[in-house]
Symmetry: C2
Subunit: 246 residues, 2 copies
């Protein structure tokens, strides 16, 4: 009977491991025309609202932790309530550096979650395909990130003069969400903090442990909003999506 039960258990479809998303919307104090970039309007909704809809609507995501700045805490909490983002379990204050904000988010994420997706709050146009693809890859390989090929001609320069053209055939521009086995990213970020290392992205912390990161298909549309031009580009993408052009 015990044998039968365990057989039955084994034959049940395995529940996919849970994935918590940490949305880093702490930014620096840098503002665009007086508005924090994550709250800037994009197609009539704040940038962060687009971002949260993408994760709220994604079946691969079970929980969302939002990390923000202290002075935005009330506004961001209000947004989560007003738009009824029911997957958002916590809105927390981040650190002065990005890595501190990531750590604050990791600390608040469900300890049972097997995967953690870390995403820039300022990437509002991430698609379901990109999120699903990277979560699936992380299930298989512990660490994954979406990327697009570098299409610009890239030069290595010193003192304003080119030294050489970089072979771009193996260069990839990485995006977010970057998804990791939870214990791996917690350990990697803690080690980076202990070592006093800055990070441009979370993959870097994992790579520093000697582990490769699987790259998945990113999207040209998954832009990071940093400048007024980026906002104009974001508007153009939304408009083109609305017209079925993209």
């Amino acid at each position: 009977m015990a044998g039968l039960l365990s057989l039955f258990k084994r034959r049940r479809p395995e529940k996919a491991p849970g994935c918590s998303a940490v949305i880093v919307a702490a930014g620096s104090a840098r503002r665009m025309e007086g508005i924090d970039k994550v709250l800037a309007p994009l197609g009539e909704l704040p940038v962060l609202v687009h971002t949260l809809y993408a994760f709220q609507d994604c079946p691969a995501i079970d929980e969302i932790v939002v990390v923000t700045r202290e002075d935005l805490l009330v506004e961001v909490s209000r947004i989560c309530k007003d738009f009824a983002f029911r997957k958002v379990t916590k809105v927390v204050v981040g650190g002065a550096e990005r890595i501190g904000s990531v750590q604050a988010g990791l600390r608040e994420a469900d300890p049972e979650a097997e995967l953690i997706a870390i995403h820039d709050g300022a990437r509002p146009l991430v698609s379901q395909e990109v999120i699903q693809g990277v979560v699936e890859a992380a299930r298989l390989s512990s660490a994954a990130a979406p990327a697009i090929p570098v299409t610009d001609t890239v030069k290595w320069a010193e003192g304003g003069r080119t030294v050489e053209t970089v072979d771009r055939s193996q260069l990839w521009a990485v995006q977010t969400p970057q998804v990791f086995e939870a214990g791996l990213i917690r350990g990697a970020i803690q080690k980076a903090i202990d070592d006093g290392e800055g990070l441009t992205d979370d993959c870097g912390a994992v790579e520093r442990l000697g582990m490769p990161v699987t790259l998945t298909r990113g999207s040209q549309e998954n832009i990071k909003i940093t400048t007024p031009l980026d906002l104009a580009v974001g508007e153009a993408i939304l408009r083109a999506r609305g017209e079925g052009l993209l």
Copy 2:
């Protein structure tokens, strides 16, 4: 008397060397939704018309040679006539590869020109500042190109897995126009053709001779139109410029 004359000559302000522009609008056979990218409409004018206006209006440019595909020759010639681009001296047919098109343009440019500016026809939003800046730098240093810092996190990857994060602090994405002392670029392109080398940009041919290229200030707005998304971005830039946002 002869001495006085030569002194007089030396003291006259030197005429700045002439600069011919070679606009490469030959492209591949790749089309966007049935329309060749250089003829695609951008804010009600074809992409190439924006490009030609930028060079026509630039005091640093004395002559324009347009290189195009055989099947676009009539249409491109008609555009140059209809819009009265009086600096356009020739519209010529390019080669199957970009380097052949550049060579065709170099062959037709005024042999007296001291500088040659080579520009992608599909970069319609280049500003006067970018063109002027790179022409001035080339006058001082024989070879110059506009560039912007790489802001993406860039990974070196093999077989779909990251190997390392590339230090981006010395990485620059180069744009066009790239401007060269005329004899230098003619020799460099001829050597690249003789060596059977492909090129992603013309600077590469000069770098291969062991000469550095001076980088000047490019612009995020100086995009290359390659995809429908790029066209949407171009529209957004035009609109933002119209509203005084950029």
